[in-house]
């Protein structure tokens, strides 16, 4: 499988705080890779470092064969990356439809608005809503994901998409991930909800203290339960 993303010895800082201490990971085309770990282990910062949203970064971050560690964020995005942040970042000054249509194209293809509404029927009903932030938490999460699917991004970085959502919404998001994988999207998923991530991912990275502590593939999951219990307390 072709490699889409490779991180080697990645360090990242927020101001004086050294958060990532040499992260190494790879993601292949069409894979769903999950970053597991406790709060503060560096999973969100890893996604932000890939997007160039941390302060200082060092090491190597290669996207589709291109070294991006010195690139500005907007240039990295145009390699076909779609980022869905933990806080969802729905814009309150924009309507639901404006939020959906805001991101510019960063790659070929991309889902049509009709396809997106088919995947997220709630958004079709709420598209005239004047403020994106008037949506429920689940609808905002769907909007945050939907808006990057339109852009032609092929590598999706999804940060804690199930956080604070009702079980029925979490199940719906699980079906969306399965559907996106079937469409050929490559997905890096940061998840605290192990039960959500377990059936979706092809491979897992476990992070602790700003670096990768363990890595294993889906077939190995059962044999790693004890180890995960120790790292995650699940």
């Amino acid at each position: 499988m072709a490699e889409v993303l490779r991180l080697e010895h990645v360090h990242a800082w927020y101001g004086e705080s050294h958060i990532l201490h040499g992260v190494n990971l790879t993601v292949n085309r069409g894979e769903v890779v999950t970053l597991l770990g406790r709060n503060g282990s560096g999973r969100t910062t890893t996604l932000k470092a890939i997007m160039g949203l941390t302060g200082r970064r060092s090491g190597s971050i290669v996207v589709d064969g291109k070294e991006t560690v010195a690139w500005p964020t907007h240039r990295i995005a145009h390699l076909g990356l779609g980022y869905c942040p933990e806080e969802r970042a729905i814009f309150s000054s924009l309507s639901v439809e404006e939020n959906l249509l805001l991101p510019p194209r960063v790659g070929e293809g991309g889902m049509s608005v009709d396809e997106i509404y088919e995947m997220f029927p709630n958004l079709r009903e709420r598209r005239r809503t004047a403020q994106g932030t008037k949506l429920s938490g689940g609808e905002q999460q769907m909007l945050a994901m939907a808006r990057i699917l339109r852009t032609g991004a092929h590598l999706l970085l999804l940060d804690e998409i199930t956080e604070g959502l009702a079980p029925v919404i979490v199940q719906a998001l699980g079906r969306v991930i399965v559907s996106l994988k079937a469409r050929g999207f490559t997905i890096v998923l940061v998840e605290q909800n192990f039960r959500f991530a377990a059936p979706l991912a092809d491979r897992f990275y476990v992070m602790e203290h700003g670096k990768i502590a363990e890595t294993f593939s889906a077939p190995e999951l059962e044999s790693k339960t004890q180890m995960l219990h120790e790292y995650l307390g699940v």
Binding site: M51, L53, P72, T73, H74, A77, H78, Y83, P85, A89, F91, S92, S93, L94, E98, L101, L102, P103, P104, V106, I148, T151
Partner: protein, 294 residues
């Protein structure tokens, strides 16, 4: 001649017209300030000096290059906006991660330097700038004489303000600007070159000030202190309208111009203070401004 509330209609409408003209300048200048504050979070105290530079640019274009008012209306905003781009790239861009106060101090200091240089070079008596011949004269409306140039100022200001509002509120570019005002990092993560957008936005806001300066040149004289005189009132307008509110800046600009004009008719002693009294009341009752959001 008729009267309204004991005031001759010609006097009343005359002051209303002056209020609308002042309001036109308040609206154009506060609009620029609102656009800049919205995206850059910079309280641009240089705005008055940049308005003055617009008037001086028109003066230079006429006296050094022989280019008339209409050329100045197109070229002076571009020239003044370009100086804004340089200021943003060289100075303001270093301050975004610091407290508002640093931007305020830098732009205030810059305004003093620019005004000082112009005053040193041209004195403070003011230089004449001729009215464009096409707009000379006045029309008799029956109840008052309406000078053509002053009517043009009001119409042009309305057009510029409406066009700016339309771009910001109804276009994709405006959606980027509004989104970047809330969360610039996220907009950049979508692939939008936000630093360049910030530079161009500041340049546009400054160009608006330059445009207002050209419009003002034939009415007021071209004077190094013309910006210092108006900028404090314009800041009061922005505070009343709501910092960063585009529609607030436009409506409050025109509205307060009219209020000021009417005050001159009914209670002239309060003409210079009425806007600040309104600002005080608004700050007490609705600190985010009439059109601002918390």
């Amino acid at each position: 001649m008729g009267e309204i509330f004991g005031v001759p209609t010609q006097v009343l409408f005359g002051q209303l017209l002056i209020g609308l003209i002042n309001g036109s300048f308040y609206a154009m200048l506060s609009l620029g300030l609102a656009v800049i504050f919205g995206l850059l979070n910079i309280i641009n105290f240089t705005h008055g000096a940049q308005y003055m530079m617009g008037a001086f640019a028109a003066y230079f274009l006429l006296n050094k290059l022989g280019l008339n008012y209409w050329w100045s209306l197109a070229l002076a905003p571009i020239a003044v906006g370009a100086t804004g781009v340089v200021v943003e790239r060289l100075m303001l861009s270093r301050l975004y991660k610091l407290d508002h106060l640093y931007g305020l101090l830098l732009t205030f200091g810059l305004a003093l330097v620019i005004q000082g240089v112009f005053r040193n070079e041209f004195g403070s008596t003011g230089l004449p700038y001729p009215m464009p011949s096409q707009l000379a004269g006045a029309k008799n409306l029956g109840f008052m004489f309406l000078p053509n140039y002053r009517a043009w100022v009001i119409v042009a200001s309305l057009l510029v303000c409406t066009a700016t509002w339309f771009v910001i509120e109804r276009t994709k570019l405006g959606a980027y600007l509004r989104a970047a005002t809330e969360n610039p990092a996220m907009v950049q993560a979508f692939g939008v070159n936000v630093p360049r957008m910030i530079t161009l936005t500041y340049g546009f806001g400054v160009a608006l000030a330059g445009f207002a300066g050209v419009m003002a040149a034939p009415i007021y004289q071209v004077n190094p202190l013309m910006g210092a005189d108006i900028i404090i009132v314009v800041f009061a307008v922005v505070v009343i309208g709501g910092m960063g509110s585009i529609m607030g800046a436009i409506l409050t600009g025109f509205g307060l111009g009219v209020v000021e004009g009417l005050t001159k008719v009914f209670y002239p002693e309060a003409t210079n203070t009425v806007i600040f009294v309104i600002m005080g009341i608004v700050l007490l009752i609705r600190p985010q401004g009439l059109f601002g959001s918390r």
